[in-house]
Amino acid sequence: MNFGESILLALEALVTNKLRSALTMLGVVIGVTSVILLVALGTGARNYIEEQFAGLGTNLLIIMPGAETQGPGAAGLTERPLTYDDAEALDRQAYLLQGVAPIIFGSVQAKHRGETENISVMGTTPDFATLRNIRVEIGSYLSDSDVTGHRRVAVIGQSVWRELFGAANPLGQTIRLNDTSYRVIGILEKQGQTLGFNMDDMALIPVTSAQDLFGREDLFEILAGVVRADRMEEAMDQVTSILMRRHSQEEDFTLQTQAALMGTLDTILTMMTAMLASIAGISLVVGGIGIMNILLVSVRERTREIGVRIAVGARKRDILRQFLIESVVISSAGGVLGILVGAAGALLFRAATGFPAEVTPWSVIIAFGFSTLVGIFFGVFPARKAARLDPIEALRYE
């Protein structure tokens, strides 16, 4: 019997028991669907992160206080802090940097005419806007003279505007940040959430004013742009040598690139996706056990048929192949169905929520390959049982 006929024979047997075949297949369908869906969601999460990073601007270098070996948790406690002067030095000396933005963070109470809000304040310099692609919608942004003059001016985010002023025009108005008066000079464009960080809820003030406001000199971090992405390494060396000169030759700070951070997140998400896919793979194995179960029943029911086939000249391997192909047909048909359902589900989810779920070719290949393997693996035992039947007893079987 050739291979094509074996498959026809298997299909015939499956069609004869439609409901049973369908239910058996369902186990595989569910397994494959979940693999496809979960991988699509995991890939979606990676896509989402990539989109977010793309919005953060490129060629970014982040300089944080604290040596790398101590980890970020110990930052700035025992080490020499990063200061505004460090940032100034970088801006003057590091020719591979294009824009240096010192950053101070703090939380304050903002008041305007009886309205009170707890908001985040970021003290920075004009370069921050270029580095992070931030634009002002109305009014103006911080200027160099605002920074050098310790001016009490603020550029506020959209949410801060709405909460403190309602619909009124805030430009030129005064808000009080921890009982110091600041004049509102601009409103930021709507930014939305970026990696759990929302500029809409913030007020930007000159970094020098922030030092006055919070009564501290040390910076949270320094953000710097590198002239070209391929000169990142050189720029990092330059920054390191400039800062070490200022910090008594100690490397008590950490450099991080946007690319490295993204790589780390990408690795974590890839691992999570693989883990989710493996868990879904377990249900595929359960589906395989379902196939084995049904095939064992089928072998028992068709004992006489097997006996007849052996009597008229079927070899053991013919019988083995017949049942193995049945198993593989169930599992791979279930695989194809599962891929279709999973892909449809992922696309529907994407259409409904906008989450960038993506059905990747490799997940389709792996899901199909794995479901076929499951069919072979769990088909072997029943098929061998069939092939090893004693024809004399099989022919007498009631």
């Binding site: 006929e5 086939r309 052996i310 009597a311 008229v312 000249g313 079927a314 053991k316």
Partner: protein, 224 residues
């Protein structure tokens, strides 16, 4: 000589006991013969049938089929020999219930490696030879007992075997239908030169054969 059994013994172990189903059986069947194998149930005639039909192996002794020693052959070779030289007819017909008469008859040709067209052609021919040319696409449960047995006979004959092995072929049929089957056997034997070995416990059925052997307590003797 088509079939030659020399000192064939078959033993089974049941727990601690060894049961001898066949003891030193010498039996020869010539091409074109019509042989009845008679004997009470439990005498060993089914074991003899199974050994002749290559479904079972002797514990000792030698079996030559068409002058080839089949006791030395492996399972795959035996399957090939069954396919080419033996046609089985069972008491309970043993047709595949969900396959048409045509597909049932064509089954041995599937394992002979013939292509679909040739299988169907030869299956149609075999069905016509048992007067079932007009029932080819019926399922077994749409046929009468006699018709089913004739489908089974067509299946046994389709690959032009050397030997038709029938195990109580009329056991599940009423006497009139049984008679029709026996007439078909007569015709096949006389007209078609088909060699037949038939197991039966009914003396009047055995009487239709050219020659009878009796199996009793595992030993075979000429009955007539």
């Amino acid at each position: 000589m088509l079939i030659r059994l020399e000192k064939v013994t078959k033993e089974y172990t049941l727990g601690e006991e060894t049961v001898q189903a066949l003891v030193d059986v010498d039996l020869q069947i010539e091409s074109g013969e019509y042989l009845a194998i008679i004997g009470p149930s439990g005498s060993g005639k089914s074991t003899l049938m199974n050994i002749i039909g290559l479904l079972d192996r002797p514990s000792r002794g030698t079996y030559y089929l068409n002058d080839r020693d089949v006791t030395e052959m492996d399972d795959d070779e035996l399957a090939g020999m069954r396919n080419r030289y033996i046609g089985f007819v069972f008491q309970t017909f043993n047709l595949l219930p969900r396959q048409s008469a045509l597909a049932n008859v064509a089954l041995p040709l599937v394992y002979a490696g013939l292509d679909r067209d040739e299988r169907h052609e030869r299956a149609r021919e075999a069905l016509r030879s048992v007067d079932l040319g007009n029932r080819m696409h019926h399922l077994p449960n749409e046929l009468s007992g006699g018709q089913r047995q004739r489908v089974a006979i067509a299946r046994a004959l389709v690959n032009k075997p050397s030997l038709l092995l029938a195990d109580e072929p009329t056991g599940n049929l009423d006497s009139r239908t049984g008679n029709e089957i026996l007439e078909l056997f007569d015709n096949l034997n006389r007209g078609g030169n088909v060699t037949i070995a038939m197991v039966t416990h009914e003396p009047d059925v055995a009487a239709r054969a050219m020659r009878s052997v009796r199996v009793f307590d595992g030993r075979v003797s000429e009955a007539r």
